[in-house]
Subunit: 351 residues, 2 copies
DNA sequence: TTGAAAGCGTTACCAG
DNA sequence: CTGGTAACGCTTTCAA
């Protein structure tokens, strides 16, 4: 291999090497450090210098190499965002908003998607290898995993899940409150028998919602409660409704589903499979406030998560902790918004 | 600032510096190059060496630094994925599947989200700075933008959009065919007057679908066609239906919406706003095959995109081109699947 | 199979 | 304000 061949390896399609700060420096007739400074924020560079460098730079199509910068700076300017199939981050707008929030601070998003929330282990190694500056996760961590990232001094913010009594930052929707509202509305409107459609067993969110509902129901003296479990999907919601009725022998007065998708499934099954009228024969409520919940055919009574405020908060909490690692953990819970839709027979506000 | 303070900067919470291959080498009593080799694939290292190094490594919690590796290797092992609000990549499962596909090849996803498809310019610079190995985009590029990434020798795969006559790789759903199917079914079932609900003007996907439908309608001799335009959202779908009827003076026999969300909006508005029965009074069809399309209340006639095969193809096409930059561009179009739902009055298959 | 040494493209420190 | 030089943590020749 001759010399030409050797120097070929970094050439682009037109035969030029990808320009570095040295190339720019040479063309501009200045030092490489000068070029570096021109491309920094609080740099000290004279106007003349800046002009010459810039001219040379875009003549060569120079772009600072963020990888190299990260190496020396010890800041990758990337955060890991972990989503899993059943997460709320999974809702499209959340990811888009998050990415944009981070982007405003010059931070890029490295995405990690989990098939199951329990697969976290495999991706943590990756996040650490890529030296992400922070982690925003909608999947739970085991204590060991938490310790691992903690030892690496990487700040973590949990989205809609919070480790019991652990000293970690989190942003969540106040689901206890939400379920309390829903149960309150239903009981006050005279519903006496309840079905609960809970989420999959490995979902903390699902468990929380179910427990809160059960708690509130029992507080209000309701004892006729039947529970079945689904996977947060529409189909499973339909299935759950059938199983619920079979288990009880007859439909309950109201069904509380752990999320909107299953609630919608319940509505369809109640109507199609059992010829019931919603809400005249049975009330059905969900949780989340997803798009289809407000479709006219369902008009779901639900609690809408303040997604925008939550993502906003999550992003800034993480960025704050990247910039100031000494900041102590913080847990923020946002109230949802009760949507009194037509899928439940509720007392009118004025009654 | 004394020496202690200086050396502090890279220490972790327990006071140790983040371990490097040098630290591992020292502890294991071998050279740094040896450590490097142990953590590579086709490395040559004796079993004894490997053991000693590994022992030292996990004693120190050593993790190879992917950033540094990327710098020397000239491979970041990251690809950029660009989504915009109205894209199909926007559908949750697509992102998850993509990320997993890439992950299998050791490639991470750097996510870029656009508010509008036309904002591409701002993110291209970022992708280049981070030296991504490839780009998968569900947003259109201008010719200049395409040239920019081309000059940087970064392979690009377009998802569901293809630049007219440009020499680029793309994966898409065959929308012409899909619209042809839909129109064919409707015309054959006797529908004579049509409404078309098109997408936003800056969506290539929307335009393609509309043009294909119009084409096929005209081929089949249909002339009574009214067109209104929405933004791909549910609410806009409802609105569009109203405008359609107003514009025509009366409801058409059938409505062809550019996507499912708007089709569902049309159904709700037809029922609620105009007291029409779907499909007895009017047939409504969409495109995409999103989740809610199959909800019992809508049971939409639509064309489902083979999302899984498309993401699979997109990921492997990009990876192939990263590993072999000489590969010529390739355009792959996948047929969708016609879903003959209850939202349209169609000829039965046997009739 | 192993080790020494030369980069990769930046930033950061320190004189001038 | 500017330039020289030493890192950053790794991979990759090249000899031994």
């Amino acid at each position: 291999m001759n010399k030409a061949a050797k120097t070929d390896k970094n050439k682009d399609s037109t035969g030029r090497r990808r320009a570095t700060s040295y190339d720019v420096a040479e063309l501009a007739g200045v030092s490489q450090s000068a070029v570096s400074r021109v491309f920094q924020d609080g740099a000290s560079a004279s106007k003349a210098m800046r002009n010459r460098v810039m001219a040379a730079a875009d003549k060569l199509g120079y772009r600072p190499n963020a990888i190299a910068r990260g190496l020396i700076t010890q800041r990758s300017n990337m955060v890991a965002v972990v989503i899993s199939k059943i997460t709320n981050l999974y809702y499209p707008e959340v990811l888009v908003q998050l990415t944009q929030r981070f982007s405003e601070h010059g931070v890029r998003v490295l995405l990690f998607a989990l098939e199951h929330e329990s697969d976290t282990g495999t991706v943590i190694e990756q996040m650490l290898q890529f030296r992400v500056d922070g982690i925003l996760t909608a999947a739970i961590f085991t204590p060991e995993q938490l310790e691992t990232v903690d030892n690496a001094d990487i700040p973590v913010v949990f989205y809609n899940r919070t480790l019991q009594d652990q000293l970690v930052s989190s942003v969540r929707c106040d689901q206890e409150e939400g379920e309390r509202w829903l149960v309150g509305e239903l009981v006050n409107a005279g519903h006496k028998t309840f079905g609960i459609v809970e989420g999959p067993p490995d979902s903390v969110v699902g468990i929380e919602r179910k427990m809160s509902a059960l708690n509130e129901l029992s507080k209000m003296g309701i004892t006729d409660i039947t529970t079945v479990s689904g996977d947060f999907g529409y189909e499973t919601g339909r299935d759950c409704f059938t199983r619920l009725v079979e288990k009880r022998g007859s439909p309950p007065d109201a069904v509380i589903a752990a999320n909107d998708a299953m609630a919608i499934g319940c509505i369809d099954e109640a109507r199609e499979g059992f010829g019931l009228s919603v809400p005249d024969d049975i009330s059905i409520v969900g949780f989340d406030g997803i798009g289809p919940a407000s479709y006219a055919a369902y008009d779901l009574t639900t609690v809408r998560q303040p997604v925008q405020r939550m993502t906003q908060a999550a992003a800034s909490m993480l960025i704050e902790r990247i910039e100031n690692p000494e900041l102590s953990p913080e847990k923020r819970a946002f109230s949802g918004k009760l949507i009194r839709g037509g899928s439940a027979r509720l007392r009118s506000k004025n009654g």
